[in-house]
């Protein structure tokens, strides 16, 4: 069942309505006040993305400094609603040139209304693809038929596009240089106990693609995943190559991927849309290569002193390095002062988030820098409140490393004109919620 959204509201952080569009008449215009009163002005904000007040459900998410709220009065598909929101935001971003915030909305009222009319009809999501929408919702001026210059461009025909066999790609594209960029982006989620045993660990990955290809190319992607390899060896009746194979869970493809061929041959073949898109998503729960290990020791010495020792070990190839590593070590609220000794990077105490923040800009593989800190606490009135010891959090990016071990084996491009293409492939691993209890 689709969303059946009754209305969409765009609010700023104070709760003022920036833009709204009502698609159905089954909710009152003042329901957004209920949202403001009962969600935005309470502590519950941000705890649960779906809330029900007065017979309506509010699906909301915050993007930079804007809240987007979908109000539904029926039993709607919440996941669909959120997917719609994410896609809509991506669409807006592609229209606004990257930024989506309060100012961008204020500067593009007319455009947003136009888009809102187009992407949803009577509460049901419609076409959200930027490529197609940009054909007829343009930001440039439209030539008047009475103007002196004749129109030299053909009027874009969106209907043909949307209803055609390859709805996501226009015919007759031509590029001087035919290029394909393929990014594999993985984020690692980890929860580790203080003794070093893994409590929860998974990798969610995305294959992002950017195509600048002429004509109607047919692409074929080969990964080192288990099923694909097995199928291939079966077909070609030769033994499976030695090497690591990856088991992918929960794979989702972009609509351009030919699923019948994937089901029969287990190959990912597709006619790509023009420009940037997300080819596939996957999740891996087993055989994850963790990029970092954290060994914390935190000792509370009496009421007013604490000793913190944290050792971070990088366990990827020595030639590789991680960028933008941030280790946030939580300390009690009454921390007054902290003295640090670090082997690399910089550390400071951030009172706003009650953490010691240790930043290492470039972190080579197979090294283990340490931080040791002496924390002084101030005595407080209510001594009994014990410290809850929240987990240590980490942020990082490791280029050319995949936590899952996924590799692109081949990317073949076939077009009837037979031009040559250049393929660029990148890997990157980021931290999702990378937490170590201490």
């Amino acid at each position: 069942m689709p969303v059946a959204a009754s209305a969409i509201y765009f609010l700023n952080l104070r709760g003022d309505v920036l833009i709204n569009r009502r698609y159905r008449d089954d909710v009152e215009g003042n329901m957004v006040d209920a949202f403001r009163m009962n969600i935005m002005q309470t502590k519950e904000l941000g705890t649960c993305p779906v809330r029900q007040i007065g017979g309506c459900s509010f699906l909301y998410m915050r993007i930079s400094n804007v809240y987007i709220v979908i109000v539904v009065s029926s039993n709607a598909n919440a996941a669909c609603g959120f997917k719609f929101l994410v896609e809509a935001v991506a669409l807006f971003k592609s229209y606004f040139g990257g930024a989506f915030d309060e100012d961008a909305i204020r500067n593009n009222f007319v455009l947003i209304y136009e888009l809102l009319d187009e992407i949803m009809d009577f509460g049901y999501p419609q076409n959200l693809s930027p490529e197609i929408l940009k054909l007829y919702i343009t930001q440039e001026g439209v030539w008047s038929p009475f103007s002196s210059k004749p129109v030299d461009r053909p009027v874009p025909n969106a209907t043909l596009q949307v209803t055609g066999a390859v709805g996501w790609r226009r015919e007759g594209l031509a590029y001087k240089k035919n290029e394909v960029f393929l990014d594999i982006v993985e984020s690692v989620n980890l929860l580790m106990s203080s003794k070093g045993s893994v409590l929860r660990c998974d990798v969610s990955g995305k294959v992002l693609m950017k195509c600048f290809l002429s004509g109607m190319p047919d692409l074929k992607l080969g990964l080192n995943d288990k099923i694909g390899l097995e199928k291939e060896s079966e077909l070609k009746s030769r033994p499976t190559k030695s090497g690591k194979t990856i088991e992918l869970d929960d794979v989702t493809f972009h609509q351009c991927v030919n699923l019948t061929r994937f089901n029969s041959e287990k190959t990912v073949s597709f006619v790509p849309p023009d420009g940037e898109f997300e080819l596939m998503k996957y999740r891996i729960t087993e055989g994850v290569n963790l990029p970092f290990r954290v060994l914390p020791t935190i000792k509370e010495l009496g009421r007013t002193r604490m000793e913190v020792n944290v050792k971070v070990k990088s366990i990827f190839g020595a030639k590789m390095f991680a960028l933008g590593v941030v280790v946030k070590i939580p300390v009690p609220k009454q921390t007054a002062k902290a003295n640090f000794r670090v082997t690399t990077g910089r550390a400071k105490y951030d009172a706003a988030i009650d953490c010691i923040v240790w930043k290492i800009r470039k972190f080579p593989g197979q090294t283990e820098p340490t931080l040791s800190a002496e924390v002084e606490l101030i005595s407080t009135m209510n001594e009994k409140k014990s410290w809850t010891r929240p987990p240590i959090q980490m942020e990082f990016q490791v280029p050319m490393f995949t936590a899952s071990g996924l590799r692109v084996r081949f990317l073949k491009v076939w077009e009837k004109s037979g031009y040559n293409t250049v393929e660029w492939i990148r890997y990157i691993t980021k931290a999702g919620s990378y937490e170590i209890r201490c």
């Binding site: 104070r14 951030d350 002084e376």
Partner: protein
């Protein structure tokens, strides 16, 4: 404040103010808190300036609502700083962040004390403010003497002494024993001689608090207060800065008069005289002027003076002067003054003989009812309600009714309730009452609660023979001597019921009327339309059509009433009208399948009953009288009187007037007692139809044999009708039946109670209640119209725990309640404290511990007394702590029994007696009787089926558990005599038990408990010597 010197603080505050949302603010505050923590931690490097700055920041953060749980130490330490800016922040932050329970305050006490006793008066002020603000026990104990010293010291500046007086006031409020009464009262009096008005005002505040707590110690201050007032009123020696718009220190005047109101009387004639002079001057000198502030001040003084006048019970002249003044106020344009005038006039009603004077302003008050300001209208309504009595009721109620049409919705409900109450209380005659209420329902149907129309129905039903009004009758009597026209004659004999019926019919003739009016109309026409039959347009069919055309418009709650009306009309139609009957039957048929069960039941029953023809006459006879009760309306008004402004005046009056409310209706005594009982039964226990005049139709229907199913339901349904008429009213009546198992004759006793309120008669037979309680553990011990004593007992071995439930059944408290137990020598009793007063409609529980020392048949007595209005009631009640309560049943087998029986041989351990004059009982009944006092019959031990063998265990403190055995031999030929043998290990027990059982057998309670599973005496076959039974026989 030297904020300008603290840049960091200013920057921080502007940062926080510039934050766009709460989240940013929190981040900024957390950052600052971290910074402050860091600074506080390395204290060595902190200058006093920095310390001051950070403590200010801390205070600012605290004021924003964040939790600040550190830095108190720094704040407290700033108190001892030598310079003013630091000291100031120290004091301010300490008094904001800390409360009296913080340990940190101990650190500060000494410094604070040094500041207080020091010479620097700025510091003294700071310290006094802190002490006043925090004012904990420790501060009070250690600093109160110093504070007191400052107040009376002559060397301190008035400013400091002022603060000290206020500080002491705060300490006193927290902890009243800081002010030592003996030592302080003289000084207080001395303080009132102060010339400086500032100090005097503060001391007066202190005095108000002190005298409110205990005025006795401060009698010496009274003349001084009068003197102060005199000085102010005469405007002597008042510095310019203490006059406010030409009024000398209104605050001090108000406070002084407030203080004077705490003293019960002013005895000293000279000060009384001068006080009245002053009051006179205030009353005379106050007038309404243009300036708002001046008005406020002068009226504050004036109204305080008014309440002082009321308090002092001044001469009537002065009072009337006050009323005249208020009368002037309620005519003023300024709404605030009008409001105050009305409010104070309502308060004035409390003073008894002022009503007449207030009544002079009635016209003006009625004008206020149309004021644009709703609060003024409410006050005017309250005042009118309060001042209403028999003489002006007619005017006022009519005025209210008129106003009802235009009043807005917010006030209508209150208005209609009050109009209804007034109409009920002060009705000169019933026709007027009926007129008023019908008009009320017509005008404000939505706001007329059910109580109001129930009440009309009650009145009309209860006053069948009553002439239209006493005064009318009198008038007519005088007229009679001159001429006697036919109309007049009709008028005299036009009783209330047809009058009401005619009136109602007039209303029903209108095209659209409110549903409540339809309900009243339907009910009244159903009951009394037959009285109108001879009039034009009042034939049964016309009446029926009139009512029936309203049927489609009413809700389900009204339909049952309409159905009853149809049935009644049908019944009254003599000779029967087949057309009408058919019509009515169609309606009943239609509703036979109604989803609403009440409607359905009525339809079915009325349909069946209406087939009976003439018998219907008896079944659907006129409704009997309703029992007289306190009006639910008045009670409702009492309940809703939470409005402080209404004051007790109105309550006072309702209490006064319950007695004369509708005296008319109370007079005619019920035709006979049983009728009243019957009504009560109908209300409370609808299923019992035991009345006299019902019994005829019962017999009648029973002889028919056909309607036996319907008949018991008839009173049920009519009781339902009564029930929904009376639902809320039914609370008040004395309970119709005593709880359980007490014979029905008790209900007869209660019928008389209402008629003789002067001698308090117990309800029910005390002796029978006692006997019943001897056999069970809970029930009612005593009941009269005012009080009910319930009892609940638990017995364990030789101990018992009784709980007495003393319930006040009335709306007035019972006072001087006393309960004393007079235990016999064998019982040890401890009654917990019985409260002196039992509040209205409350129940008090008094546990009572009983310990049995040794066997005895004597009975404990409870001496219970209380006072209700003029009656003093003193009753002596036997408590059901009898011998049998300390028995526990035990079932013995043959061997156990015989070994015991044998070991106890001959007197005094074993006694035998032939008892004559026993009430004849079958063996099974006798066994049940034994069970009821905890003696077990052991079956099969005696070969003779006419004999009983029983056993029990007796507990007392001396004997502990003691087995007792009983054998009864009866003579089947003559059941009035039997031979009893009792055996136990204690001579006294044997004797007492024997006597106890004897008593029980001779005077058997009228209703023994329903039989528990009882053992049939089995038939024992052949007897041989080896048989234990035979052995038993031999032993005897």
């Amino acid at each position: 404040m030297a904020l300008s010197g603290m840049r960091g603080l200013a920057v921080f505050i502007s940062d926080v103010r510039n934050c766009q949302n709460k989240e940013h603010e929190r981040l900024r505050v957390d950052k600052e808190l971290g910074n402050i923590r860091t600074r506080f931690k390395n204290e060595k490097g902190m200058t006093p300036y920095e310390k001051k700055k950070y403590v200010w920041k801390m205070l600012y953060i605290y004021m924003l609502g964040y939790d600040v749980d550190f830095g108190h130490m720094e704040a407290v330490s700033l108190i001892s700083a030598p310079k003013y800016p630091e000291k100031q922040v120290g004091y301010i932050v300490t008094s904001c962040l800390l409360n009296e329970n913080h340990d940190f305050l101990r650190l500060a006490i000494n410094t604070v004390r040094n500041d207080i006793i020091g010479r620097n008066e700025t510091f003294q002020c700071l310290a006094l403010t802190l002490v006043g603000n925090i004012g904990g026990r420790e501060f009070a104990e250690s600093l109160a003497p110093d504070v007191q010293k400052i107040i009376i010291s002559s060397s301190c500046r008035p400013l400091v002494r002022k603060k000290a007086a206020l500080c002491l006031l705060r300490l006193f409020r927290k902890n009243p024993d800081v002010v030592n009464v003996d030592g302080w009262s003289d000084r207080m009096a001395q303080l009132l001689d102060e010339r400086d008005l500032g100090v005097l005002t503060s001391s007066m505040s202190l005095l108000v608090a002190l005298v409110s707590n205990n005025y006795d110690a401060y009698w010496s201050c009274l003349p001084k207060c009068v003197k102060v007032l005199e000085r102010l009123a005469r405007n002597q020696d008042i510095p310019q800065e203490y006059t406010y718009y030409g009024i000398p220190s209104p605050w001090l005047q108000v406070k002084t008069m407030r203080a004077l109101q705490y003293f019960p009387v002013v005895e000293d004639p000279s000060s009384r005289k001068s006080l009245f002079e002053v009051l006179q001057r205030i009353l005379m000198g106050t007038d309404v002027v243009k300036n708002v502030n001046k008005n406020n001040a002068s009226h504050a003084v004036l109204f305080e003076a008014l309440s002082l006048v009321m308090h002092l019970d001044a001469e009537k002249e002065m009072m009337s002067q006050c009323v005249a003044l208020l009368g002037k106020f309620i005519a003023v344009r300024e709404p605030n003054i009008r409001y105050l005038g009305l409010e104070n006039m309502t308060r004035m009603l409390m003073v008894t003989d002022l009503q007449e004077i207030i009544k002079r302003h009635q016209a003006q008050i009625i004008t206020s009812l149309k004021d644009p300001d709703i609060s003024i209208r409410r006050r005017a309504l309250d005042l009118l309600y309060g001042m209403c009595d028999v003489s002006n009721a007619k005017d006022i109620v009519e005025e209210l009714l008129q106003y009802l049409g235009t009043a807005e919705f917010a006030i209508r409900e209150e208005l209609s309730l009050k109009a209804a109450i007034l109409a009920e209380k002060f009705a000169p005659n019933l026709s007027w009452y009926v007129d008023v209420i019908l008009q009320l329902i017509d005008k404000a149907g939505d706001f007329v609660s059910d109580d109001i129309w129930f009440r009309v129905v009650q009145f009309v039903t209860n006053n069948e023979d009553l002439q239209v009004g006493n005064n009318l009758v009198e008038m007519n009597m005088t007229c009679l001597s001159f001429t006697m026209t036919i109309e007049l004659q009709c008028f005299i004999f036009l009783s209330c019921q047809p009058y009401a019926a005619i009136k109602v019919k007039e209303y029903l003739d209108k095209p659209s009327i409110h549903e409540t009016l339809i309900k009243v109309g339907a009910y009244l026409l159903g009951e009394y339309s037959h009285l109108l039959v001879r009039r034009p347009g009042c034939s049964p069919r016309e009446i029926f059509n009139l009512i029936h055309e309203k049927l489609p418009t009413v809700s389900t709650s009204a339909i049952p009433i309409l159905l009853s009306t149809y049935a009644k009309i049908l019944m009254h139609t003599q000779p029967p009208d087949p057309e009408l009957q058919k019509q009515v039957w169609t309606i009943f048929r239609k509703y036979e399948s109604c989803i609403d069960v009440e409607i359905q039941q009525r339809a079915v029953e009325y349909f069946e009953m209406s087939k009976k023809g003439a018998a219907l006459m008896d079944i659907l006879a006129e409704m009997p009288r309703f029992p007289e009760r306190q009006s639910a309306l008045i009670k409702k008004a009492e309940d809703t009187e939470s409005d402080t402004a209404e004051q007790s005046a109105i309550k006072l009056r309702t209490q006064q007037q319950t007695s004369n409310a509708l005296v008319v209706t109370d007079q005619p005594p019920p035709i006979n007692g049983t009728a009243t009982v019957n009504q009560l039964r109908l209300v409370k226990v609808p299923n019992m139809s035991n009345s006299d005049h019902r019994s005829t139709d019962q017999q009648l229907t029973h002889t028919d044999g056909m309607l036996t199913v319907v008949d018991p339901e008839l009173p049920n349904s009519s009781a339902d009708l009564l029930g929904d008429l009376l639902g809320p009213l039914a609370i008040e009546g004395p309970p119709a039946t005593p709880r359980d198992g007490v014979p029905i004759e008790d209900a007869l006793a209660l019928a008389t109670v209402g008629e003789q309120p002067n001698s308090v008669q117990p309800i029910g037979n005390i002796a029978e209640r006692f006997n019943a309680l001897c056999l069970k553990d809970s029930g009612v011990l005593y009941e009269d119209p005012y009080v009910q004593i319930g009892i609940k007992a638990e017995w364990r071995a030789h101990q018992g725990r009784l709980v007495l439930f003393l319930g006040n059944k009335n709306i007035a408290p019972l006072v001087s309640v006393q309960a004393l137990t007079l235990p016999p020598s064998h019982l040890k009793m401890e009654l917990s404290l019985v409260p002196e007063t039992i509040p209205p409609r409350a129940q008090v529980q008094c546990p009572l511990q009983v310990i049995n020392l040794r066997p005895s048949r004597d009975v404990a007595v409870l001496n219970f007394s209380y006072k209700f209005s003029a009656h003093v009631v003193d009753v002596k009640l036997r408590l059901p702590a009898v011998l049998s309560k300390f028995l526990q049943p035990i079932l013995l087998n043959t061997d156990e029994f015989f070994s015991q029986w044998r070991s106890l041989s001959g007197p005094p351990l074993k006694l035998q007696e032939v008892i004559r004059g026993v009430k004849p009982l079958s063996l099974i009944d006798m066994a049940n009787l034994f069970y009821s006092f905890n003696v077990t019959v052991c079956p099969g031990l005696d070969p003779n089926p006419n004999n009983l063998v029983a056993s029990t265990t007796f507990y007392s403190e001396i004997t502990q558990a003691m087995l007792s055995l009983i054998r009864i031999e009866t003579d089947p030929a003559d059941r009035t005599q039997l031979r009893m043998t009792v055996a136990s290990g204690e001579p006294a027990l044997t004797f007492e038990l024997m006597e106890f059982i004897k008593e029980q057998l001779i005077t058997i309670p009228s209703n023994p408990r329903p039989p528990p599973p009882v053992v049939e005496p089995p038939n024992i076959p052949a007897v041989s010597l080896s048989d234990p039974v035979a052995m038993l026989a031999g032993l005897m």
